[in-house]
């Protein structure tokens, strides 16, 4: 009991319910030049990426560095990277909801938003990678005149279902969580803003009859999102593991990818939350306590990822298969040794500093570590995809890959696209779940009153 009370005290300092409403809603729709500058930079980056993509569509896929034997380059690397980033959002909102972890409350909204924008970014890459993007609808199972259906035994088709479902469910889950907060915004504002949020809140009044259905639906969504999180990156990993390419054909890929996804996702949440907390003055709500918990999650997943790196090497050694062994030796000491060692440094060595409590509670240190992890996880996907394809079975089939300026521009564009959406979200919707923060505050007050009564009776 004492532990629970202490936890609540750490989660929330002293704001009242009305304070929470006011503090969280304050930055919404209020213009600021800093925000306008950041948004302009993001839009500029999107324009660069868009122009590069338009150039690629005009000239053909040959403007990229992708060629035989490396047919999957930075585009597929970015697809896997962004799907991975998307993972911690639903992990934090769904899995921690089911475990009743109080610390998720202040970060779940931003983490869920991040998930949606990351999947929106990831979803662009199969289209960009297609080259002839106007044929994208061939991915869909529909009765066509050609009588050709997608191959449902192919992991690439399964991936369309996994990522599509993940996007839809994350969106539904996020929106459901937003409904009571949209009603709070409707009641706070006047005029067109009130009308806009009123429409979005679907006329929510917070009557007990509404909450009854709402609570049930939210619990069910959290329940189904949990296995979904674990399934999505497993399916993505099978895009690789079901092929016979040395370096890909491995049974550990599903848990390895899921752990890596959560690792990179938590790092991205930390990166974004540090910025949001600073920009919107949310220090009273997002505290060192929350960051320390995220740091612990990052440390745990870093250990799993580090273990997976080691196991891959052990399996290659133990397989007694010279091609497998050569592939892994080449990965560490061949043409892509640079990215490989950046990956090890960023994902295993840098996060090991999180064993120290002072570092876990230092927000600047965490920010730096999280940026390293983001870089490291990009390189991890790059190393897995490119170094395996570049060095397959026959020496005559070997060949290296270097991304072209078009791919680099689209890489910059993808980060800008993601940040653009996140910035728009941060200015138009509550970045912290108001209803959930209030729920905790109300419980804390009830707890204090009960304690006061007991104290008075003594």
């Amino acid at each position: 009991m004492a532990t629970a009370a202490r936890e609540i005290e750490q989660v929330y300092p002293t704001p009242t319910l009305a304070d929470a409403n006011e503090d969280i809603c304050r930055p919404i729709l209020v213009p600021s030049w800093r925000y306008a500058l950041l948004l302009s930079i993001a839009i500029g980056g999107v324009a660069l990426g868009g122009a590069a993509w338009a150039y690629q569509i005009h000239k053909g896929i040959g403007v990229t560095g992708i060629n035989h034997p490396v047919g999957w380059g930075v585009y597929i690397t970015l697809f896997v990277f962004w799907v991975g980033i998307a993972h911690s959002g639903t992990l934090i909102s769904a899995i921690l909801y089911l475990f009743r972890s109080g610390w998720r409350t202040t970060i779940n909204r931003a983490a869920e938003a991040m998930t949606i924008f990351a999947v929106m970014t990831a979803g662009l890459f199969p289209l960009i990678h297609l080259g002839r993007v106007w044929y994208f609808y061939w991915l869909m199972p529909y009765p066509s005149q050609r009588m050709i259906w997608p191959d449902f035994r192919s992991p690439l088709v399964l991936d369309v279902f996994a990522v599509g479902t993940y996007f839809t469910i994350s969106l539904i889950f996020w929106y459901t969580g937003l409904i009571p907060d949209l009603a709070a915004l409707r009641d706070k504002f006047r005029g067109w803003k009130s009308k806009l949020y009123g429409l979005l809140s679907l006329g929510w009044e917070g009557s007990v009859r509404e909450w009854r259905h709402y609570r049930r639906a939210y619990l069910i969504m959290a329940g189904i999102a949990t296995p979904l999180v674990l399934s999505v990156h497993s399916v993505v990993s099978w895009d690789f593991a079901l092929a016979i390419v040395p370096g890909w054909h491995s049974t550990i890929f599903a848990p390895y990818f899921v752990a890596g996804a959560i690792f990179s996702g938590v790092a991205m949440v930390i990166t974004l939350m540090v910025g949001l907390r600073w920009a919107f003055g949310l220090e009273a709500y997002v505290t060192e306590y929350h960051f320390e918990n995220m740091a612990k999650l990052m440390l745990l997943t870093s250990l799993i990822v580090g273990y997976a790196y080691a196991v891959e090497y052990f399996l290659a050694y133990y397989s007694a298969d010279p091609i497998e062994q050569d592939s892994f030796l080449w990965r560490a000491f061949g043409a892509y040794a640079g990215p490989f060692w950046i990956m090890v440094f960023c994902n295993v060595i840098v996060p090991a500093t999180l064993w120290f409590r002072d570092i876990r509670r230092s927000i600047p240190a965490l920010f730096v570590i999280a940026v390293f992890v983001n870089i490291g996880m990009f390189y991890e996907r790059f190393v897995i995809i490119v170094s395996s394809l570049a060095h397959e079975y026959l020496p005559s089939g070997w060949g290296n890959y270097t991304p072209s300026w078009v791919e680099i521009s689209i890489l910059i564009g993808s980060f800008s696209w993601f940040y653009m959406w996140f910035l728009i979200f941060a200015k138009t919707l509550p970045v912290i779940s108001i209803a959930e923060v209030k729920e905790h505050l109300a419980h804390e007050q009830a707890h204090e009153q009960a304690a006061g009564r007991v104290g008075g009776a003594e």
Binding site: G203, E205, R215, I220
Partner: protein
């Protein structure tokens, strides 16, 4: 005219505001003991104790979610097996109807339709979307106030007002 004398009109009655879940719960209990059953209770946060005090059963949303799950699973099988039979090309040495990969599609569609059914059934049961707010709703109910509205015609309004006044409300308002 219903037995509360409001003629089914939810804009006639008494509304009281409270500062905590506990106070709202006591008010509901007092009203129900005195035979007032036509209540509308507003809360800024989910409060299972209020549902209990009002004697509301658990939501049928879970049944819809189950229907969604079964529909999704069946759709996943029919889609993947149907497409494979319509275009029977052996790939990767697997049988035409190959359950392990099809299971992924069944699983994903089951989850997809469970979520969609849960959302839409929640909206339908909660009578959403709604363009106008109820006459008894107040903006403070989305901030830090709990509201208890009791539908009561002219003959019972005085009773309702007296009962609510005894439950330490922050405000009481008669809607005639």
């Amino acid at each position: 005219m219903n037995r509360h004398g409001t003629g089914g009109n939810r804009s006639v009655g008494v509304i009281a505001q409270y500062g905590s879940v506990e106070a709202a719960r006591r008010a509901i209990e007092v009203l129900r003991e005195e035979g007032f059953e036509d209540l509308e209770v507003y809360s800024p946060i989910p409060a299972p104790e209020l549902e209990e005090a009002m004697g509301i059963d658990s939501s049928p949303v879970r049944l819809w979610a189950l229907i969604g799950a079964i529909t999704g699973c069946a759709t996943g099988f029919l889609l993947s097996a149907g497409a494979s039979l319509a275009y029977p090309l052996v790939t990767q040495g697997k049988p035409i109807i190959s359950m392990p990969p099809f299971f992924v599609v069944m699983f994903e569609l089951a989850i997809l339709l469970t979520g969609i059914f849960a959302l839409f059934s929640m909206l339908v049961h909660a009578r959403k979307p709604k363009l106008t707010l109820s006459p008894s709703y107040r903006a403070a109910f989305s901030v830090d106030r709990w509201g208890v509205f009791v539908a009561a015609g002219a003959d019972r309004q005085a009773d309702a007002e007296r009962l609510l006044g005894e439950t330490d409300p922050l405000a009481v308002e008669v809607m005639a």
